[in-house]
């Protein structure tokens, strides 16, 4: 396999990460300190890497990824980064998706503890989801030479995988990182599905998948991250975590150095020294800060001719011309030539997810680490996470946790036998809680490599009087980089403890927050992009509109025709033509989006009396009434017409964007306040489609289409409803008007909507119109649109509709508020019309109304109101706008300035009903 790094080709082997390929190729300097510019190299082999990030250029690309987490594939191209990622300019066209998953037991971590937990739970018959972030199961076993159940670790892991796969209710997901652990055992994971396939990745396969997991029980077997020790010049390439060095040697088959010094504070560091020696690395010195070390390890090293210097530390390092490690300075005053310094201060149990779940941690002296205390959710911890060290104990803890979880999930469990372990050295000497070798060169003692933060910074923070680790984190930025403090968090606590003489337990850790590893916005968006970003609701007549060149407007989720331009016609011209047709001839509109609710029951009239401001219970069967609905604060929330179809059947219409809200409003009152009322509501918005027929000639058209219907003024009066066949299709016809003209709303079952629409269109020279014309027509009549001309602070009286507020009804929602002094103020903002003084200028919607001639450059400028709707009125021959104006009802005739973007237009306040104020046109 060939990979390309900064334009240079390198060889890679199957199973390599980018990091292991780089190391094998002898590339040591791979990054630089973000502030200091000091050369940096790999410090780890996994998720704790804090130095080497790259930008992936091949495939879908990725701006900033750890080199240790990229699986090498043929054709991989990357460029190294110096601390900061780069967002590409190109849109990310890869596929991302998400899925929901439910399980009885979720096991996080596919190492020895996780495998045993999954097996124990899985054999009980529980639904088990085992999630592991590595390409291969096994965790730390992959770099181990232990014999488990008589098998080499790789064979044992394979046998475990086979046993798990044989269980039908067990799902194993690799390359998947759990990044968040939320309430009610809800966890979020990120699966990397195709990155390792390179150009072989199928285009149809989602690259990354977001898992939303709901688990009955969670077993955390997240292991631990190795902790470093801070000392002078501890950031040079060649200085690496000890077990990462052994992982490179034993898992990836690349030697991390030729001559090594091992520096540690626990028996695990000595174990690493043994592994390095056996991998062919010359171990020049082993330094242990402790006075007493594990006898097994000392003996094993002695057999290899290596002695352990106890009570010894690293006092500094020397570099070659490239800045790469060439020698280690010891506390005994020696200079030891080495190109690898393997450091291990101890293990930090990976408590991040446990902490996110709400669990508390405590400092364990025995483990020299923060370990899980009491869980806050149904969470079970096992393995290295709990501070366990020996493999035998890790395996038995895993089995125990899996069994406990399955039992808690209600299953009968037979715990599997714990496998035997051979070839493991016994760790018996206590670890030391040791963090930092003090040095006069404190600005080179790095605590957070990614933030270039040092012992000096912590000392300054302490000197400034900061004591809380949270404050010190923010003062020094330690733990705020992309690694989220995995490499530096506990180390900083340890340094602080050393500096301040306080205990680890007293200081505690900073808060761990999701995500555990970074998560891309593309993944969060998933498939909800482009056409699928939000549902496009369409009417049954939508395709006709498209075919006839409609320009669409988004109204809530609906696509509504905005206007129907003819070839080469501008929007203004089209709207003018459509308006003229409606005022002088006949025009038609698709009004199917209006919210429609059918109400049935003996008490519907009573309910409507309580929710609308006017009286509905007196409405006769076959009649229609307009109503305004207010909230308890007396402000308008909706309006519309309601027809009484039968004694106990009513049909309510709401504004297009409000349908769901009003249905919920009705349900809320019925369910919580008036459950005694005999009323049931059903949404029928989608069931019915409505064609509006408007204009002085609309009666002729309807007569032609519905020959059985008496369409005369007397036979079919305003605000009544009839049932008849229209073009042979059963229809309900209402005589209502939102334009002031003679108009009919023809309603049919939606699957006949297109047929009726086409029949109407074919009936004569009928002009289809869209929402813009509808708005102009209604504005000329001063009909407000709730949500456009109102904003939740407007009463019916403010709209000049005091007539619709009943004085007789004992109560209705909002009535009490009309008794408040504030709602009866005469200087409230009230609906008015405004026309430009010059007769030509159209003011902007949203324009502020100020005193005529007000000097705009000398704030404050008193604002009297604002424009809510503005159009060119064909009927008036001038632009016309609706506005809310302080005390507007008493200011007709006044001249004001409408100001938009610094530009003032003189306007005159007029009645909001400039067209046909006496309503003589509605009968045609």
């Amino acid at each position: 396999m060939r990979i390309t790094v900064d334009g240079v080709q390198l060889a890679a082997r199957p199973g390599d990460t980018l990091a292991s390929a780089l190391l094998r190729a002898g590339r040591r300097v791979l990054s630089q300190g973000i502030y200091t510019g000091r050369p940096r190299g790999l410090v780890s082999a996994g998720v704790e890497e804090s130095n080497v990030f790259v930008q992936v250029l091949s495939g879908s690309g990725e701006p900033m990824v750890r080199a240790t987490e990229i699986e090498a594939y043929d054709g991989l191209r990357v460029r190294t980064l110096a601390g900061k990622g780069l967002l590409p300019d190109e849109p990310d066209e890869a596929r991302y998706d998400k899925t929901f998953a439910h399980t009885d037991v979720l096991v996080v971590g596919g190492g020895p503890a996780g495998l045993m937990a999954a097996l124990a739970a899985g054999e009980s018959g529980a639904r088990v989801l085992l999630i592991d972030d590595q390409p291969r199961l096994g965790g730390r076993l992959l770099a181990s030479r232990a014999i488990v159940d008589g098998l080499a670790v790789h064979d044992w892991v394979s046998s475990m995988r086979d046993r798990l796969q044989a269980l039908p209710e067990v799902t194993v997901t690799s390359r998947t990182a759990v990044v968040g652990y939320y309430d009610h055992n809800y966890l979020v994971a990120v699966e990397r599905r195709t990155d390792h396939l390179g150009s072989a990745a199928p285009a149809t396969m989602a690259r990354h998948r977001l898992w939303n997991i709901r688990a009955g029980q969670v077993v955390l077997a997240t292991g631990a991250h190795e902790r470093s020790i801070a000392f002078a010049d501890n950031d040079r390439p060649g200085i690496m975590l000890a077990h990462s060095a052994t992982a490179y040697a034993w898992r990836y088959g690349c030697r991390p150095g030729r001559r090594a010094v091992v520096f540690g504070a626990h028996d695990g560091a000595l174990a690493a020294a043994v592994e390095l020696a056996d991998a062919g690395v010359e171990v020049a010195a082993v330094l242990d800060v402790r006075d007493v070390v594990g006898a097994d390890f000392a003996a094993a090293l002695a057999r290899r001719g290596i002695s352990v210097q106890t009570g010894a530390t690293v006092s500094g390092t020397l570099a070659d011309d490239d800045g790469v490690l060439r020698a280690v300075l010891t506390s005994a005053g020696e200079t030891v030539a080495a190109d690898l310094l393997a450091v291990s201060g101890g293990w930090n149990p990976a408590v991040e997810l446990f902490s996110q779940s709400g669990g508390r941690t405590f400092w364990s002296e025995a483990a020299a680490g923060f370990v899980p205390d009491t869980a806050a959710q149904p969470t079970h911890c096992a393995g290295v996470l709990t501070g366990a060290v020996s493999l035998a104990r890790v395996l038995s803890e895993g089995a125990g946790a899996g069994a406990e979880a399955a039992r808690a999930a209600g299953l009968d469990v037979t715990e599997p036998a714990t496998p035997s372990v051979e070839g493991e050295l016994r760790e018996e000497a206590a670890p030391a809680a040791y963090f930092c070798v003090d040095s006069a060169a404190e600005e080179t003692v790095f605590v957070d490599l990614q933030r270039d933060a040092t012992l000096h910074d912590i000392r300054r923070a302490v000197g400034a009087g900061l004591t809380s680790v949270e404050h010190i984190k923010r003062y020094t930025t330690i733990g705020t980089a992309a690694d989220q403090g995995r490499g530096s968090g506990v180390l900083a606590v340890g340094v602080l403890a050393q500096l301040s003489g306080r205990s680890m337990a007293e200081i505690g850790t900073t808060t761990y927050r999701p995500p555990y590893t970074p998560i891309s916005f593309a993944l969060l968006a998933g498939r909800d992009r482009g056409r699928l970003a939000d549902p496009e609701r369409v009417t049954a007549i939508h395709d006709w509109h498209v075919e006839h060149g409609a320009v669409f407007e988004d109204v809530g989720q609906w696509k509504r025709p905005w206007f129907f331009p003819r070839p080469a016609e501008s929007m203004d011209e089209a709207v003018r033509r459509e308006c003229a047709a409606a005022r002088t001839g006949v025009a038609m509109m698709d009004a199917s989006t209006l919210g429609t609710i059918e109400l049935q029951g003996a008490d519907v009239g009573l309910l409507l009396d309580r929710l609308y401001t006017n009286v509905f219970s007196s409405l006769k069967i076959g009649s229609v009434r307009y109503g305004v609905m207010c909230g308890p604060d007396g402000m308008v929330i909706d309006d519309g017409t309601t027809a009484r179809l039968a004694e106990d059947r009513w049909l309510m219409s709401t504004t297009t964007g409000n349908a769901a809200k009003i249905l919920e409003w009705l349900e809320e009152w019925l369910q919580t306040e008036w459950p005694d009322l005999d009323v049931r509501c059903t949404s029928v918005t989608d069931q019915w489609s409505t064609v509006v027929l408007v204009g002085p000639r609309s009666r002729d058209t309807l007569e032609e289409l519905a020959p059985e219907l008496d369409c005369s003024v007397e036979g079919f009066p305003f605000m009544t409803v009839r049932q008849a066949a229209v073009a042979g299709i059963p229809a309900r016809i209402m005589r209502v008007s939102f334009s002031g003209e003679l108009a009919y709303e023809i309603t049919v079952a939606s699957w006949y909507a297109l047929a009726v629409w086409e029949a109407v269109f074919a009936a004569g020279e009928i002009t289809p119109y869209g929402t813009e014309t509808m708005h102009v027509l209604r504005a000329e009549k001063g009909y407000p649109i709730v949500g456009q001309d109102t904003d939740g602070t407007v009463t019916p009286q403010d709209l000049g509709m005091g007539w619709i507020v009943s004085k007789k009804k004992p109560d209705f929602v909002g009535k009490r508020s009309f008794a408040r002094a504030d709602t009866s103020r005469s200087d409230r903002r009230q609906l008015v019309g405004v026309v430009p003084v010059d007769g030509r200028s159209r003011v902007a919607e949203g324009a502020q109304l100020v005193s005529h001639g007000a000097v705009l450059t000398q704030p404050p400028v008193a604002m009297h109101g604002h424009v809510t709707s503005s159009y060119h009125s064909v009927a008036l021959g001038t632009p016309f706008a609706l506005a809310l104006l302080d005390a507007g009802a008493s200011r007709h005739g006044e001249v004001l300035d409408a100001v938009d973007d610094g530009h003032a237009t003189a306007v005159q306040v007029v009645s909001p009903v400039p067209y046909d104020p006496d309503g003589v046109r509605r009968d045609g």
Binding site: T204, R527, P675, T682, A749
Partner: protein, 205 residues
């Protein structure tokens, strides 16, 4: 009584002509046009369902379930609230189906509302159907939890739907409001992308 051929000829469902693709051995989506759908609500403060059950000829299901009688299916929507899904009526077309009138006349304190044209009825079936749903539905669809006869009213992607498991293929019948139908089909076909080109002999659970 026979169906009015003139009316049937002009009838157009929300998915007419919109569902050409979308079938493979692993998962298939199909339109189930022309069903008679009725939303039924009975007063919850009294037992209003007895009269309805007599009129229907079969029992209404409990919460989260469906019940059926031959080609008729009842789906629980909420307390005292069901969706009835019956074969297309064959009488002359009126504004409301005969079933609506029959229920309304059953004597219970109830509402029966015709919604046949208000929903698209879809069937999603095949071994991968649960996986497709799981891309956009947060409900647990494991057969132990959501077996045959179970139903749910929930969100699927960004559309409110009702769905029920009707056989062990498995087949899910999905009811979605007509105006959302094209969005939902586009979403389903997109969610099924990986499975539509999958080799069924190699698919794993």
């Amino acid at each position: 009584m026979t169906a009015d051929p003139g009316l049937l000829a002009v009838r157009r469902g929300p998915l007419t002509g919109a569902l050409a693709a979308g079938s493979a051995q692993t998962v298939a989506v199909r339109d189930v046009p022309g069903r008679t759908l009725v939303e039924l609500r009975v007063a919850t403060n009294q037992d209003g369902s007895g009269a309805v059950e007599s009129a229907l000829g079969f029992d209404l299901p409990a919460a989260g379930h469906t019940s059926r009688d031959g080609q008729q299916l009842a789906v629980w929507l909420g307390p005292g609230w069901w969706l009835l899904d019956a074969p297309a009526a064959t009488g002359p077309r009126t504004l409301e189906a005969p079933l609506v009138h029959r229920l309304r006349d059953s004597g219970g304190e109830l509402s029966a509302v015709e919604v046949s044209a208000g929903f698209a009825v879809l069937e999603l079936s095949g071994p991968r159907a649960p996986a497709v749903l799981a891309h956009g539905c947060s409900i647990d669809l494991h057969p132990r939890v959501f077996g045959r006869g179970r139903s749910a009213r929930t969100m699927l992607a960004k559309a409110q739907v009702v769905f029920a498991l009707t056989d062990d293929a498995p087949t899910y019948r999905i009811w979605v409001r007509s105006s959302f139908a094209r969005y939902l089909v586009a979403w389903l076909l997109d969610a099924a992308t990986e499975y539509l080109c999958e080799d069924p002999t190699r698919s794993s659970g």
